[in-house]
Symmetry: C2
Subunit: 210 residues, 2 copies
C-alpha cells in the first residue's frame, strides 16, 4: 500500500517535471535525464513509469485533459444558461493555463509537429465550445444573425492565441485579457440579460461597456 | 554576375527548404542534411550560406517579416480609414500564411521555446494592430466604450490562434474564418459606415449580419 502510494507520487513528480521541461525547452530538445533529475528520481525510475519521452508527454496531456474536463463540468454547474457556462469556462481554462504548468504544457504539446496523435486537448475544448454555442442558439440566447459556428471559431482561436502568446509573455494569461475579450464579444452575441463577465461570479456583473 | 545570381538562387532555395522542414518537423528535430537535400544542394553549400540551423531559421523569419511588412503597406494604401486597413491586413496576412510556406514557418518559429530572440514577427504585427486601433479611436472610428487595447488583443490573439490551429487543419486559414470573425467583431467596434469585409475589396461590402 505504502509502496503503491510512493509509486503514484513518483509518477506525479515525473509528470510535473516533464511538464516543466517541455514547457521551457519544447518537446524535441527535452532530455529524459534532465526530467528525472528535476523530479529527483533515477533514470531507471523514469523508465519504469514511462517507456519513452512520448509516453511521458501523453501522460502530461492526459492530465491536462482531465483538468479541462473539470473546468467544463464546473462551468456547467450553474443554471444561467449556455453563454454563462461558456464565459465561466474560458475564465476557468485560462486560469488553469496560467497557474498549472501541467495544463500549460499539455496545450503547448498539442502544437508539436510530427508527434503523433495524442488525446487532443484543443479538439475536445473546441467540440465543447461548438456544442455550447449551438445549444445557446437553440435556446434562443443568440442575437439575430449571429452564427454559432463563427462565434465558436472566434472563442476557440482567441483562447489558443492567449495560450500561445502567454508562453512568452504571461500578461496574455491574465483575467483582464479574458474580460476584455468578453466585453467586446458578449454584447454582440446576445441581447438577452447578459451573463456575468468575471470568473463566472454572479456578483461581478460587468460587460456593460457600450 | 551570373555567379552572384546563382548564389542568390541557392540561398533562396535553402530558405524555402528550411521553411518546409521547420513547418513539418519543428525546429529542433529538423536536420541540416534533410534541408540541403530538399534544396538540391550540398551540405557545404548550406554551410556557405548559413553558419547554423539557427541562422537559417532567422533568415526564414526575416523573409516572413518582410512579407508581413508588405501586407501592412498594401493594407494602408487605401483611404478608407484605419479600420478598413486593419480588416484588409488580416485578410492579407492570413492569405500569406495559407499560401506561403516561408511566412507560415516564420510564424511557427516565433513559438519555439529557448530559441533566442530573432526578429519577432508576432511582436511587429501586434504593434501595428495596436497603433492602428489607437489611430481609429483618435479619428473617431470606434464606438463609444470600445477599448482599442481590448480590440487589439482580440485581433492579435485570433490571428495567432488561426495560424496555430491552421498548422494541423488548413480550414482555419481560410478566408471564411477571417470573414466570420469580422462579421462578429466589426459591428461592435464601429457605428460608422462599415469597412468592407472580404479581402479588402470595396465591392464586397458585407459584415451586415445583424
Amino acid at each position: 500500500m505504502v509502496k503503491q502510494e510512493r509509486a503514484a507520487r513518483t509518477r506525479q513528480a515525473l509528470i510535473r517535471a516533464g511538464a516543466e521541461v517541455f514547457a521551457k525547452e519544447g518537446f524535441a530538445p527535452a532530455s529524459l535525464s534532465s526530467i528525472s533529475r528535476r523530479a529527483g528520481v533515477s533514470n531507471g525510475a523514469l523508465h519504469f513509469h514511462f517507456e519513452s519521452k512520448k509516453a511521458l508527454a501523453f501522460a502530461v496531456e492526459a492530465e491536462a485533459l482531465e483538468a479541462v474536463r473539470q473546468v467544463v463540468r464546473d462551468a456547467q454547474g450553474g443554471d444561467d444558461g449556455p453563454l454563462q457556462a461558456l464565459v465561466a469556462a474560458t475564465y476557468g481554462l485560462m486560469g488553469r493555463i496560467a497557474d498549472d504548468i501541467v495544463v500549460r504544457a499539455g496545450f503547448a504539446l498539442c502544437g508539436v509537429p510530427g508527434q503523433g496523435k495524442p488525446p487532443s486537448l484543443r479538439r475536445e475544448w473546441q467540440c465543447w465550445v461548438e456544442e455550447t454555442l449551438r445549444r445557446a442558439e437553440a435556446d434562443g440566447w443568440l442575437a439575430a444573425g449571429i452564427s454559432p459556428g463563427d462565434a465558436a471559431s472566434a472563442v476557440v482561436a482567441v483562447v489558443v492565441g492567449f495560450e500561445v502568446l502567454g508562453s512568452e509573455d504571461r500578461s496574455w494569461l491574465s483575467e483582464q485579457k479574458v474580460t476584455g475579450f468578453w466585453d467586446l464579444l458578449l454584447p454582440r452575441l446576445t441581447e438577452r440579460a447578459r451573463p456575468a463577465v468575471g470568473g463566472g461570479s454572479a456578483e461581478q456583473v460587468r460587460g456593460e461597456t457600450a
